[in-house]
């Protein structure tokens, strides 16, 4: 009798919906970071994205390396030159830092240099209600939750989940992402927020504060996650709201083409 009762479609539907709601209810993200389910999800998907990375990226990398050897050779020479130039600049910067420390200015220059971990993007998950990446560096390499992620062009986002071998990075364009920001000229403290599109929202800029189209926006360092003065993007549109201006910012980073990123694992 019970058997026939539980085979009724509405009963099955109720059970299944209850099951889904139950697993939804235990997933509200805590202040500290990820939930157990998010961690399990990342653990399950890591081998899959590694295989995907192996198939697509390694194959295309092999093709690039071995078929287009001439182009690679030119690129290598250019990179070697650039490396030499960057090393020279680094030496100069270290000399400037030492000088500044001697001049008791280390408090200002100290946080400008970070120890970074390079990582390759092994999976992109950019949809209309979520924007994340998975990179091939995990806790084994010193990656932890809330560490900022950069590319050569600017700020990418932060680590929201990590296991031994991989980490999930929440992009700035994710609707849940936000960062303390300031426009280049006005230095006004405001917040940049993901807007589920290719553009970001710059919030809390009052009507009386002048900002202009084309002005760069940098991190303000007030959120406690992102260091100060990292480029976020440039202002592309401004419209007047009732209290604040509605400002759109075009990210400095082209998230759809990201291949390599840097994870800031600590200060040097």
């Amino acid at each position: 009798m019970f058997g026939t009762y539980i085979r009724k479609p509405p009963v099955v539907l109720s059970f299944l919906l209850l099951f889904n709601f139950l697993i939804l209810s235990v997933q509200i993200r805590s202040e500290k970071g990820q939930t157990l389910l998010a961690q399990a999800g990342l653990a399950l998907i890591t081998p899959v994205v590694y295989v995907e990375h192996l198939i697509f990226d390694t194959t295309s990398s092999l093709v690039r390396k071995y078929i287009f050897l001439l182009a690679q050779d030119r690129e290598n020479k250019r990179l070697i030159d650039e490396n030499v130039r960057l090393k020279t600049e680094l030496h100069q910067l270290r000399a400037v830092k030492k000088l500044a420390e001697r001049e008791y200015l280390s408090a200002i220059t100290g946080p400008m240099l970070f120890s970074c971990k390079p990582a390759s993007v092994i999976h992109r998950n950019i949809r209309f209600f979520t924007s994340t990446l998975i990179v091939n560096q995990g806790t084994m390499d010193g990656v932890a939750i809330n560490q900022p992620v950069l590319s050569g062009d600017g700020l990418v986002g932060r680590v929201i989940a990590a296991n031994l071998f991989a980490a999930e990075v929440e992009l700035l364009t994710d609707p849940l992402a936000a960062a303390g920001a300031m426009p280049e000229n006005s230095r006004l403290q405001c917040v940049v927020r993901g807007a589920d599109s290719n553009l970001l929202n710059l919030d809390f800029v009052s009507l009386s504060n002048p900002v202009s189209i084309g002005e760069m926006v940098y991190t303000s360092g007030t959120d406690g996650i992102y260091p100060k003065e990292l480029p976020i993007g440039k202002i592309v549109s401004i419209t007047e709201g009732s209290v604040y201006q509605n400002i759109k910012v075009e990210p400095a980073v082209d998230f759809s083409r990201l291949e390599e990123v840097l994870i800031i694992t600590g200060e040097q």
Partner: protein, 176 residues
């Protein structure tokens, strides 16, 4: 002895489960490849199409179970809250079965496209709003992305229905 001979008219359990597992893997692979190669506004929902097909071809119980399994697998893949797609795909799997009894099961191409596009449109809207409510982060709905995703899902759904129908001449009998 040939199992088909013992129970003619229905396919054996192993092959039915294999086909369902294959559909699940196929929908995940298509979703995976899509997030890698297609831009944001081409938001094709393969899982919805497969769940709708299973629900349409079988009964409400099988449709809703397939919806839960496929939906949760999609949530894992997308990295969104587990159960978000699970809930909506369960409902889609359940009601698509009823729809097939109300509407003509051999729906014409245009009607099938419109039906899948409409379901995809509401699926995207509900997903988006649910995500906002659960995370307490609100913003404007990206209507163009939702619309383009619905249209593309409708087109892909119609094409896939034709293909799957060709592979399996009597789905009702196959999944039952």
């Amino acid at each position: 002895m040939n199992r088909q001979a013992v129970n003619p008219g229905s396919t054996n359990l192993f092959s039915r489960i294999s086909i369902l597992a294959l559909l699940l893997v196929l929908s995940m692979v298509l979703d995976f490849l899509q997030s890698r190669f297609l831009p944001l506004y081409l938001n094709l929902d393969w899982t919805l199409i497969f769940v709708f097909y299973i629900g349409w071809s079988t009964n409400p119980i099988k449709g809703s179970i397939a919806g839960t399994v496929f939906g949760i697998a999609q949530d894992f893949l997308l990295g969104v809250m587990l159960g978000l797609n699970g809930v909506i795909k369960t409902v889609i799997g359940y009601f698509s079965s009823y729809l097939s009894t109300i509407l003509n099961p051999d729906l014409a191409g245009l009607m099938r496209f419109l039906l899948i596009a409409l379901i995809s449109f509401f699926n995207n809207l509900v997903l988006y709003r649910s995500q906002q409510v659960l995370t307490d982060v609100y913003g404007a709905v990206p209507v163009l992305t939702v619309l383009s995703g619905a249209v593309l899902t409708g087109i892909a759904g119609d094409l896939l229905f034709r293909l799957l129908d060709r592979l399996q001449s009597n789905p009702k009998q196959f999944f039952s």
